[in-house]
Point group: C2
Chain length 507, copies 2
């Protein structure tokens, strides 16, 4: 139904398996490790390695790279015909790239920034010159995100409550240990609250309540009623690093927030470069169906290859990890955790224009809207774009109930609904899109929802430690397992580094 | 870790596949249907039938039986080496049977009662003569369940709030349409409430709050914080039939409630008799991995057989249905529903005694305790038991947080903890158990939790209709899809009848 079509950024199966894409960049991996990997690659359907990684997203590739760097052999098995997971470039021709999934990075996201730097992927500023748009009650206003609220709109009807409640949530989040949110003193009480209930008890203005939905739809792909308060507080605490406590604002801010920078060449380039380094260690198009372990090793059975290894790292979302057949069975706590960790509901929509015309009008391209389908937009034009040079790209987030309602429309009705909003935000020129594409992440077989997995109320308290507790020879990675920047590319990279360290200690 | 060992009630693989157990009882299925089924059973690994059913629990077997009755061919594919799903007899020797899973039936559970009657499985009264035990603050008291509160204890510290809040919940539940709880006028608000929050707003006494946990642990296998208020209200509304609106009381009452009767021969006998009638149509030991459909038919791929049919009925819990690989992909709404529908957490524990000694002391064997691990017990002695004739069996429910804590103990510590509680409830003779067994349903590979699947907050509103909406040639059954007695054997039977009717309309 959606335009999730084959993309030129997908690397062919043959490329990786035959290792023909293992070009010069692979020199970053020590030759010994390369040789070990080569020895472990017989012609048949079974391969042997020290470590097998399930999933070639940011988490899995990072883990594999660390294992290879340490001189051990590794095989990465990926279900898709491309790497990157929730990070996926969309090529528009002429070298112009837009992102279907994870796009932005920002301060305190140290690990993904360091990784990109190592790989020679450069960052640039998200376009943020001028005024943001706020759309409420059919009225457009503009504001500067250098003000008190950052990217949150200074709506006089909601401003006080926004400031007070964001501050309250930030304060409460300081009581949530990022390594073990289930150990927060108030964990049991906060697991009994949905965010919806908490907002209802702490707010009196309809605009602020609507603004909360406007925020949770892009940030979580969910309505406030779908979110445990403990999880929200953890997510806030997690939006920082070891030195800088997390804040809610970093989740929605461009300036000094999680949307501050983008990657030249598109965010997927980070994954593609890692995969190039790993070369034939990466097997595409091969969904993992079964993982067996015993005292001697672990065997990962996938459609195209069976890998025998000493340790496995499963680097896919909990909801997908739960669909793999494990022998012996995992402890019930791990299984019940994965039953309670559905992926969010998020569709990304994008319109392509001849030029970023909003810049001439003094607009950043960022809009916040109390009504959907799109509740947030950003300028996603390529780095070289200017008011004279195209193309200009605006993307929007359609999340939660909006995503579910949007999916029931025809593609032409969806396009019309989105472009009508863009006209309301940025003026009549927004109607003249020369391209339009959508990515419905809930319909992606090997993701099943974005941006992140969301535990049901009570799940973190009941089963949280099982998110990343190794079970025998099986270790867990993926952004959902990260203590910092959970749900973001940085969290995925951190989780891969942590899982690799665990495994290397056990080899 | 638990005593879920192979049981004599398991019917051997060969029995069903070879059809040797298709004895006289099979005459209840029309000969034409039998012949059709026989024709569709080639020696090889592929079978053809009009309808294929996934799962040989009460829902799947009921559906298959209806299809066969209508003269169509059907094959049932079951992962386990036995039929019955969450209903499983435990043979204690000498013809004595105890139940590891679903046990009781009661008034308004018309469909399972009618089915049992057709199959010649007789019911008898749950032992309910004498006084129930209430255990709170280390003190035991006794009470009669013929009083105002039924099986709920008349605790003076909690009584008023119990009456008021049960009445409130019952009243609210009348606003929830059992066929479409998501259409309740207040659905969005109630999806933002966990039961925990609602109780907190409506209660002031610690005993009543504890009593709510005592109730939700056996009824849902969950803590109040894990339950959407909308789902709880639906569950209450569902605890009745077309003529008698549901009440919360029916969920915990013996007299006139869901625990009123038991089946002679154990509840699994209903499933076993259905399977006998179906004979070689039932294939055991064959987990379904993949379901493909196109304009011409549906193909169910399982470990031991591939079945090609016109229609499929998937009769397993949503969490397990979501683990099957569908081609083409199901709509994302269905998939996200199954990601948000974890199975409850329930362990059933049972002690076997020479005689039901509590009866001599004027006790029913029913106990309600504010402290765990066991928060509710029942007399599960065989129908012929008496104060002079054994054995006597007490089973207890360990649910939610209690089940999770209990699982962390050694088996001997678990046994000691449970028997110590039984001593506190029923006196020192309870220490002299001659047998003890547990069934941890969360650890059962082909159930993954009991008694029922629990939607996360917001899931029913977002995706409820997809619980039983057919998708192409695939229809859905299982107690989670039932409008009445959802979560019970009766709901499973109703769902099987409904799914069979859908399929028969389409053949």
């Amino acid at each position: 139904m959606t335009d999730n079509d084959t993309d030129r950024s997908r690397l062919t199966r043959r490329g990786f398996v035959a290792g023909t894409l293992a070009t010069g960049a692979a020199a970053a991996v020590p030759p010994a490790a390369q040789a070990a990997a080569a020895r472990s690659t017989p012609a048949g359907h079974t391969r042997r390695a020290d470590v097998v990684v399930v999933g070639a997203g940011f988490a899995g590739l990072t883990a594999a790279r660390q294992v290879a760097h340490a001189g051990h052999s590794v095989v990465v098995v990926e279900a898709r015909d491309r790497v990157g997971g929730r990070v996926w470039n969309h090529h528009l021709g002429g070298g112009v790239v837009s992102e279907r999934g994870g796009t932005f990075v920002g301060p305190t996201q140290d690990r993904v920034l360091a990784l990109a730097q190592q790989l020679g992927v450069h960052k640039f500023d998200t376009y943020d010159t001028g005024m943001d748009v706020y759309y409420a009650d059919g009225q457009r206003s503009t504001y500067s995100d250098t003000g008190l609220l950052g990217t949150a709109p200074p709506d006089p009807q909601a401003m006080t409550e926004t400031i007070v409640n964001v501050e309250r949530l930030d304060q409460m989040s300081t009581q949530v240990p990022v390594n073990a949110p289930w150990e927060a003193v108030n964990a049991a009480e906060w697991e009994g609250y949905t965010l919806d209930r908490w907002i209802d008890e702490n707010s009196r203005t309809p605009h602020f309540r609507q603004l909360v939905h406007t925020a949770t739809r892009p940030i979580f792909g969910a309505e406030p009623r779908e979110l445990s308060l403990l999880f929200v507080l953890f997510y806030i605490a997690s939006s920082g690093n070891e030195k800088n406590p997390g804040t809610f604002e970093r989740n929605f801010d461009t300036r000094n927030g999680g949307q501050m920078w983008r990657f030249v060449g598109g965010s997927q380039l980070v994954a593609i470069k890692m995969a190039h380094q790993l070369g034939s260690r990466v097997v595409l198009d091969s969904p993992v169906r079964r993982i067996e372990q015993n005292g001697r090793g672990v065997t990962v059975v996938s459609d195209r290859v069976t890998v025998r290894a000493k340790r496995a790292i499963v680097a896919v979302p909990p909801a997908l990890a739960g669909r793999i057949d494990y022998e012996p069975l995992l402890p019930f706590e791990r299984d019940q955790l994965t039953q309670r960790y559905g992926q969010g509901t998020l569709t990304k929509v994008a319109a392509v224009y001849d030029r970023p015309f909003w810049r001439e009008a003094g607009l950043t391209g960022t809009a916040v809207s109390l009504t959907g389908p799109v509740t947030a937009t950003f300028d996603d034009s390529p780095p070289q774009a200017s008011s004279k040079r195209g193309p200009g790209i605006i993307f929007g987030f359609v999340g939660g109930d909006d995503a579910r309602a949007h999916a029931r429309l025809s593609m032409s009705a969806r396009r019309a609904a989105v472009l009508n909003q863009f006209v309301a935000f940025f003026g009549p020129k927004a109607k003249q899109a020369r391209g339009y594409f959508e990515t419905s992440w809930s319909g992606e077989r090997w993701t099943r929802g974005c941006p992140v997995g969301i535990p049901s109320t009570g799940a973190l308290l009941a089963y949280g430690p099982w998110l990343r507790k190794p079970i025998g020879r099986i270790h867990w990675a993926g952004t959902e397992t990260s203590n910092f920047w959970n749900g973001y590319m940085d969290g995925a990279v951190r989780s891969g580094e942590r899982a690799a360290a665990e495994v290397l200690r056990g080899l």
